[in-house]
Symmetry: C3
């Protein structure tokens, strides 16, 4: 499948490991592997230095839909980067299970589905529908770490 090659072919790059500010402890694992399952912590967009990437704030008042969609795509690459470090090779992913999309949304913002779609689209592009197909829930929340506009978590199966 050669997922990393497809990432490059699409013009994307995996960011480095998250570089969290020194005053924020991260006492959890970005990816927890349990047998054939990989459980992925909430990831937001990070830049090429691993630093949480703005613009930050609420969708759609601070962050218009199109910018939130970019943040969702970048957060997907951040998840994939953590998975590569945890699994060694993204080709070990045997099946995506579920993606949870959290949007830092104004009350009653009705387009969280559209915000998270670039994540689903990218997974399908990279892994194909058999491996990349997934269940999903996309909700609007009151607050996210670092005031990020989008955070994604996931669960998937890995080859034995």
């Amino acid at each position: 499948m050669h997922v990393e090659q497809r990432i490059a072919d699409l013009g994307y790059e995996l960011p480095p490991a998250p570089a969290i500010p020194a005053n924020v402890a991260i006492p959890f694992l970005w990816v927890r592997v349990l047998g054939q399952r990989a459980l992925v912590s909430g990831h937001g967009a990070i830049d090429s230095l691993g630093v949480p990437e703005g613009p930050f704030g609420k969708v759609p008042t601070d962050i218009p839909l199109e910018q939130a969609q970019i943040s969702a795509r970048t957060a997907t690459l951040s998840m994939l980067s953590s998975l590569k470090r945890a699994l060694g090779d993204l080709d070990r992913i045997a099946g995506w299970g579920v993606v949870n999309g959290f949007v830092n949304a104004e009350p009653s913002y009705a387009q969280t589905t559209l915000v998270i779609n670039p994540c689903s689209d990218l997974l399908l592009e990279l892994f194909g529908v058999d491996v990349g197909g997934h269940a999903r829930t996309a909700i609007g929340v009151a607050a996210l770490p670092f005031n990020l506009p989008v955070v994604l978590s996931a669960e998937l199966m890995i080859a034995g």
Copy 2:
């Protein structure tokens, strides 16, 4: 067990597949089956044509508790309808695992438990406590797709 018969006996009907507006892409699966697990995407109430069903808005200002409870029950039927399409037969469900209930709530609305209870009640009525018993979390969120008052996601086990 004959779950579908029990649904009919209780006077309920499974809705058709969701009929999402053409301008909203749904690049995910309503149910993802991975081995013996079925992961269910966020489902809201839909009507007998599959269209997201109102009234829409916030609990309890736009939608009183009793109406939100009806929406939770209808969303449960929507999940069951997707499961029937994915599994062929609801009797293949061997054990409900977890239900996540999301309520489109005003800040500090303290009764999300009561909003989601009709979902749990219906699962227990249809599947009995051994199969239908489940863990659950019911939270109030800032926004939901289509401004639905309730969205439910779930995970369950299916017979091998």
Copy 3:
């Protein structure tokens, strides 16, 4: 490992089973065991009588960060208490998988990570990194049951 002894050594005590007000039905299981997995429902802080424990309200306006962190730690003990009742012995826990932290947050409150950290810290202290390590997502939500400041849910593996 003797997790219960370590709880006592740290000066903590497991609360009793939740004692929910009679007008609130709880038609779900606090812990759902499915094969080697244990799925844990949303738990908040409870006191030594099992009653939901205040102070209640929003972080950080009603509840400052430090108080919310205490609520997160107490909610962790509440989860552990339910797990003890479900599993018989906390030493049967073979690996924590994922913890979901829900903070009853003011819009755009950016420190949900810090609110939930005492949960992760306590799990690592009690179980060590191999068993206690976990994926995590910590989000701010509009509303929680009983207007609790923090609710935690989780999934973990148990010995066969």
